[in-house]
Symmetry: C2
């Protein structure tokens, strides 16, 4: 092991294994996770070429091979628990995606939730034995988040008892569904249902797109890959153009709405609360944010411990770059953020499961809050993580640009999370809609419960921008609880500001125009609300830690997270009179102290995430710190080095000389 | 043409062609640029496959072919003016880099500046006829910015009158030089010179690495490609390991220092001010920032004019996404920034040329300021642009992830600018060093000239953090000159804060430790200084515009740039008492007004950049706005669509069914 990184580990003040257990949810969970991971590590079938050296077609091929392999292995090992399946696949996938991902995540669940019992009996066994391989085709080239705008049509023809599906315009071509391009032979297609001369809006139809034996596209189906992308290189996101494609009447998924043989449309019996899955997926994304940022931090902090550069004191050896204050200032707040997001993800999971229980019992009361929180936190955590990964990458200097660092791939594979499952700005505005509604209810004297109950607090009437010097703030910048309080008040003020501004504009604008004219402030208010929630959860989780050493270091991290957020938004806090100028200066000083305090534990804090080297796949982030020899070894395997002389020399450069 | 984008153009309030002329530097410059561009556009030799569909080896091949072609064409057309060569190459390269880029930018210039007359006579003709194809090998695997840390050795052997070159460690392997992997047969190698038992520090040596006929690596040379990277896909950044490579004594570049046949080392006659080139290159990068951000803005703003999504008013057709306030708030400040950076780039170019004249005349007085400014502005503009490109990309929704948008490539090809030619944080600290020095001089009563003269101003003693409510600020938020003034005072305050804090720490720390302990504040001070300079130059340039309509729209842009910067840093302005709370709220309102005011001119403002469609290579950013049909056409050419059924179906998915 590299002696620098060994020394770092010797200097840590806490027991890494104990913190790992905490993150996993207990020592037995850590043990089982490692067991499952080692099934993959010890399996020669999962040995493979670094995807960075392969063409897109080869990478797709590799992903399909692994998808098939994982199905067989999971059966062989009898792994059936969803969390364990996740863990196994997570390791087996490595840095690539599952070719059949949408089949599991969207196709089968759609059949489950949208089929009537007869349809389910017929189709689910076919899907579960991979005769059917499916995807979910909703978005179109011209339409993303706004479902009502989708243009694909399914027109019922009573003469043949069939639906005729069409893509009436170029912009109506289905676009983006994962696995649609080459892998799937079926798709659940969302289309505008027309029957008896009426449009009944969006409904789901099961459409076969390829022959189940030959895999060739069926007549009327124009299907293919949408071309190379930023990230998700090995995924065949596809397009689907429907040209008078006829499907039997009972290929409409009829659990709710129905079309009778004569074309009569039967409305669904009740508008269902169907956003449970959406909430679940967005909560999962919060966890993905935590994982992605933890990975990036692991790589850059380990590398910063073995990399020596420049000089702090003239004539002395080059210091570890982790000793530079600027490097610490870039990385430690992100490390704190990674921990914050882990805790928030745990909280979301717990809350989701608790509320799911309530919902089964018929109690929907907490769902709107969770829905609003999931939307906002999805946006908040993905934006922060997205920018944070790039800070980590660029903090590795030149080597952060090499694919051997893994950081470019972590970025491109994470960044779509800012857009999929709800575009982030749209998400923030959704949360804002909920917050403004709550604010108005509170104003009208209603008692709010849950996280938004702060909008009820007596003093919210007085929370308004005020001169910074007015009054004493009584804030203790070393006390997390005190900081939670001012984050809360900041959120309350920004929500109130936005709500009042809308109210004002309503005098001469429509509801919708007034909303759009204040969208900037609404996003800002949502952001402040989410920031408050994160600081609050971090603080609560830290409070629950019993181990004294871990409690101490995580308290420092929590404090750094909260104070760093304040300096980055100091205008808000000053403007609202929540802090005064000397306190802001004090906070800058305190942050520097915290950086120094955290410095000896930095490597141990990323070790605690316990990413296996194979999972990281980064020469810079190796556990043993032996960076340079592995970077050299990796580079020599680059395909451009397959020959000593590239053919282009003979084709262009040699002839050039004679032409001059 | 798409009717939406046509309408946008009809609504513009100014003459696009006139603004284009302004950006080019006059109508005759625009004309000549278009002439040169059309040479490429009409040349069938430059027709080629979209690099997004090619493997790395094919992309390298394409780049080499084009490099050779450009050399021949430029001779054929007799284009010799550096600006015209740049323009021709810029168009011909498309979105790829020049395979022989380092040969022109570093190898030949190094020979020019470091050879003695005899060496120059011998080698330059070989380099100019491409017998020699070279690169510049400075950075090593373990060493980037800190030159003294480089480990490669050149040990003089008087017995044979040769230097023996070695890479004594893994970390000493030369790493990153462009064109080193496969293209070059020579390299200027930087190595520690050892002779007669002494190390005389870094010197430059001409080392042949490949046979000039067969192109095979010579004995003792281990050379190759460093592997795939984020961006620069087609460039063969290389590694070079030297194993007892012997070169003749006169392959040391001897313009300054010399080694005599017996091994006697002769020091260079004087320490030369050699950072002229560095300043030039960094100034060029400011221009690259402007261009990259302009390109990204062109794509996203045109696309936002043709994309319709969701609804502002219920029941009405989906609006152009450019009508959403949140979209405007993301994009228009970036558009303003692109204009700001164009003007700063013009300023840097003018200043460089003016000072170059002074330097030839022996007057070096302005060089330190320009050097500091180039370092800081390189960092400031690349960081802002780097983040800005991603905002543009993500503002295109899902399609921003497709390579058909061109935005992913604009990002990955731009982001290295944050690291090469001086890592940004290091650059900011370099500027800070200059600023602190100037501050101390001013404190000591010296009169400063140039941009930093504001550190002299009488009131700088009173610029210190103060309660926000104290005094009236007298700032007119609608007056650019007034805003320049507060940006200036903010910079002065932050420089003073950092300088004083260092002074304080010097009581119990060494100079270097005190510096490192305040690095965060020093970076912040540099950033504020650069921000001031940008606002100042923007304001001055706007003041020079004679055309009333253009003056009006660029004044709005300038104001938006300045006010947006203030809200993003409102803590600084409040803290320093430069603004008061009601003014900050007023500014938010004013920004919303400016967004609405600029809305009708947004497309015209990006049209003015006059990027040819071929250069943009973006289906989203097409001049005619016909986005969707071209996206479909592009996707169908994706290599994964070469066959209807991918072989992986037969290899893995079909067999899977039978194994279950």
């Amino acid at each position: 092991m590299n002696p620098d990184i060994l020394k770092e580990r010797q200097n840590a003040t806490f027991d890494v294994e104990k913190l790992t257990n905490m993150l996993d949810g207990g020592p037995e969970k850590t043990k089982r996770r490692r067991e499952i991971e080692s099934m993959v590590l010890n399996d020669p079938d999962f040995k493979e070429e670094d995807p960075n050296f392969l063409s897109r077609s080869e990478r797709y091929d590799q992903a399909v091979r692994k998808s098939a392999l994982m199905i067989l292995k999971l059966r062989e090992y009898g792994i059936a628990d969803p969390e364990e399946i996740y863990c196994y696949k997570n390791m087996a996938r490595g840095s690539s995606h599952e070719a059949l991902g949408l089949h599991f995540v969207m196709f089968i669940p759609s059949l489950h939730s949208l089929c009537d019992p007869q349809q389910a009996r017929k189709w689910l066994p076919l899907a579960e034995s991979y005769q059917m391989m499916g995807t979910y085709a909703q978005t179109e080239m011209g339409h993303g988040t706004h479902l009502r705008g989708l243009e694909t049509t399914a027109t019922y023809d009573p003469a043949t008892q069939e639906f005729v599906l069409n893509s009436p315009t170029i912009s109506s071509i289905k676009w983006w569904p994962g696995g649609l391009g080459k892998t799937s032979n079926h798709a659940v297609v969302l289309a505008q249902l027309h029957t008896q001369g009426n449009n009944h809006g969006l409904h789901a139809f099961l459409v076969q797109i390829r022959d189940m034996k030959t895999h060739l596209p069926l007549p009327g189906i124009v299907v293919g890959d949408i071309g190379p992308k930023f990230g998700f290189v090995e995924v065949d996101n596809g397009f689907l153009k429907l040209e008078n494609v006829r499907i039997p009447r009972d290929n409409m998924l009829m659990k709710y709405a129905k079309v009778e043989p004569d074309g009569t449309y039967l409305k669904p019996p009740s508008a269902k609360l169907t956003y449970g899955t959406m909430v679940f997926v967005r909560s999962m994304i919060v966890g993905e944010s935590a994982r992605a940022l933890s990975k990036a931090c692991t790589i850059v902090i380990r590398y910063s411990a073995v990399r020596h550069q420049s000089e702090i004191r003239a004539g002395e050896p080059e210091p570890q770059i982790l000793d530079y204050q600027t490097q610490q200032y870039k990385l430690f707040p992100l490390l704190a953020t990674a921990y914050a997001f882990h805790f928030v993800s745990q909280y979301m999971k717990e809350t989701y499961h608790r509320i799911s229980g309530d919902i089964s019992g018929g109690d929907f009361s907490e769902l709107p809050e969770l829905h609003a929180l999931a939307a906002g936190l999805k946006a908040f955590t993905t934006w922060v993580t997205n920018a944070g990964i790039e800070v980590c990458r660029m903090s590795c200097g030149g080597h952060g640009y090499s694919h051997s660092s893994a950081l470019p791939n972590i970025y491109v594979d994470f960044t779509p999370a800012c857009t999929y499952e709800g575009e982030n700005t749209v998400m923030m505005l959704q949360t804002a809609r909920y917050l403004v509604k709550c604010y108005r209810q509170a104003k009208a004297g209603q008692r709010l419960s849950g996280i938004v109950s702060y909008l009820n607090e007596a003093d919210h009437q007085s929370v308004r921008p005020q001169p910074v010097a007015a009054g004493t703030t009584g804030v203790d910048i070393n006390d997390l609880a005190s900081l939670v309080e001012i984050y809360k008040r900041r959120a309350a003020i920004l929500i109130e500001l936005a709500a009042k501004s809308i109210q004002q504009e309503l005098q001469h604008k429509s509801q919708e125009e007034a909303w759009n004219a204040n969208a900037i402030d609404l996003v800002r208010a949502s952001d402040a609300h989410c920031h408050y929630v994160v600081v609050k959860i971090f603080t609560e989780k830290v409070g629950q830690i019993e181990n004294a050493e871990i409690h101490s270091v995580l308290s420092d991290l929590g404090l750094l997270y909260a104070l760093h957020g304040i300096t980055n938004n100091s205008g808000d806090f000053l403007q609202a009179g929540l802090l005064r100028v000397p306190q802001v200066l004090q906070i800058s000083g305190r942050i520097k102290q915290l950086l120094s305090q955290l410095r000896p534990n930095a490597v141990a804090l990323v070790d605690s995430f316990d990413f296996n080297d194979r999972k990281l796949n980064s020469v810079l982030g190796r556990y043993d710190g032996n960076v340079y020899e592995h970077m050299f070894e990796w580079a020599r395997r680059s395909p451009l080095n397959n020959t000593e002389v590239h053919e282009s020399f003979h084709k262009y450069l040699k002839p050039l000389r004679s032409k001059l």
